[in-house]
């Protein structure tokens, strides 16, 4: 399976997200913007949940490319200590078990699990959770 876009993940196993560090200020952002100002840097695989919500309706297409048959999904922000707070899907967690501050780790999940050749997006799951 391939990633939804080039330049989001490192090639290692397991992969990390690639952020961008401002060469002047040191500020870290995600994803790494094009151009020379930001230097690509691998981001921490683990962090803590900063905020979240449950997406209860199917986002409009365009631009959404997820499955036609919609199931609500959790989406939030994870704080990678000392780096940056990254927006992300949450995976392998019951909605009522989600808590701000919980420990999370990076995984890759298919945008459309039913697709013949699904693309992978980034998600965070509770540390040590089983897929």
């Amino acid at each position: 399976m391939r990633a939804i876009a080039e330049g989001l993940f490192t090639g290692e196993t397991p992969p990390r997200l690639i952020g961008g560090r401002d060469r002047e200020s040191g500020r870290v952002v995600f994803p790494c913007p094009p151009g020379d100002r930001f230097e690509p840097v691998p981001l921490s695989r683990t962090g803590t949940l900063w905020s979240y919500t449950i997406q209860r309706f199917r986002p409009k297409t365009p631009p959404y490319q997820g499955p036609e048959a919609f199931r609500p999904f959790p989406v939030g922000y994870v704080e990678l200590p000392g780096e940056v707070i990254v927006e992300t899907r949450l995976a392998n967690v019951d909605f009522d078990q989600i808590r701000i501050g919980m420990e999370l780790e990076l995984v890759q999940v298919p945008l459309d699990p039913e697709a013949a050749d699904p693309v992978l997006i980034h998600a965070f799951q509770p540390t040590g959770a089983a897929a």
């Binding site: 939804i4 876009a5 989001l8 952020g19 500020r27 870290v28 952002v29 995600f30 994803p31 900063w50 905020s51 979240y52 919500t53 449950i54 997406q55 209860r56 309706f57 986002p59 409009k60 365009p62 631009p63 959404y64 490319q65 997820g66 999904f73 989406v75 939030g76 922000y77 704080e79 000392g82 780096e83 940056v84 707070i85 990254v86 927006e87 899907r89 909605f95 701000i100 945008l111 693309v119 997006i121």
Partner: protein, 383 residues
Amino acid sequence: MSGDVCIVGVGIHPFGRTDGVSGLDQGVFAVRQALADAGVEWADIQFAYGGSDAAGNPDTMVERLGLTGVQFINVRNGCAAGGSALFSAQMAIKSGEFEIGLAVGFDKHPRGAFNALPSEYNLPEWYGDAGYMVTTQFFANKIMRYMHLHGISRTTLGRVAEKAFRNAVHAPHAWRREPVSLDDILEGAMVSDPYSKYMFCSPAEGGVALILATEKKARELGKPIVRLKAATMRTRPPKSFEVFAPSVDIGGGTATATQIASADAFRMAGIGPEDIAVAQLQDTECGAEIMHMAENGFCKDGEQERWLAEGLTEIGGRLPVNTDGGCLACGEPIGASGLRQVYENVVQLRGDGGGRQVPGAPKTAYSHVYGAPGVSAVTILER
């Protein structure tokens, strides 16, 4: 110019859905009402600033109103379009070049959530593909963080919507004018946790026009004097948390454009939050009103829990907030929304609020808009 800039005429086309009437014509309707209110003719108007996000170029309304050759400048500034039009109109009069002019805003949006594309926001395509280009998702994430940090309950969010629909019963220009019980609000279909469908405003239609003049001209017209003591518009500082953000700086969400716009407005007006008698605060969702109470300096973070429980923002309370039901009950036509707040404040200062009139003859009124990607506009009126 000596004296203050005054608002001498107001007009509004009812908000909501008006099939068969274009956004522009709703703006024209509002302008005609404002002209009649001020007792002037279109030919008397020396300049205009117009805001619209999705309903065409405002200056084309000269075709309907009359080809007087008037200076007419279009303003496109997201949710701050109305506030920016008003700010610009005020500056035109303050400059001494003009003595009477118009600020107008109107819009007409398709039904359903706003449809945003990544390319319009300088974001990569994958961000939209993966389902992040959803404004409601951002608002829900933002309030979830705020509730966690400051101990705000979901019931308090519900009380904001309950108040909005209750106030709107008495506002002829509002869209949703039926009361909704707190239980129904809390148990309504979930859109994006913690928000149910009653806790978000909807894109809508409407038009608002305000006629501004020098104080000298206002006295000639014989209208009640409503002074525009401050009008500010500001963009975001570092550490803000805005819509469509794939990442946020550590410590983000602690500084906002609203805080700057508000502090500057109070400084210009020479008064403080405790001096305000009625306020219209941007409430595109319930949590926005909660957060904006603190960002505009009316209370501390977390105090909203008690304020709402004790009814301090009700029409008879210490600081009535969103007396016409705000965006929650009026819907949001982006170009008109900010001017609706000022319209409502003029109505309140003139004592024309009817069933929603703030008691005690209010002398000061505050309005605040906030929008993507981190813009805010504030006005302070006095009579």
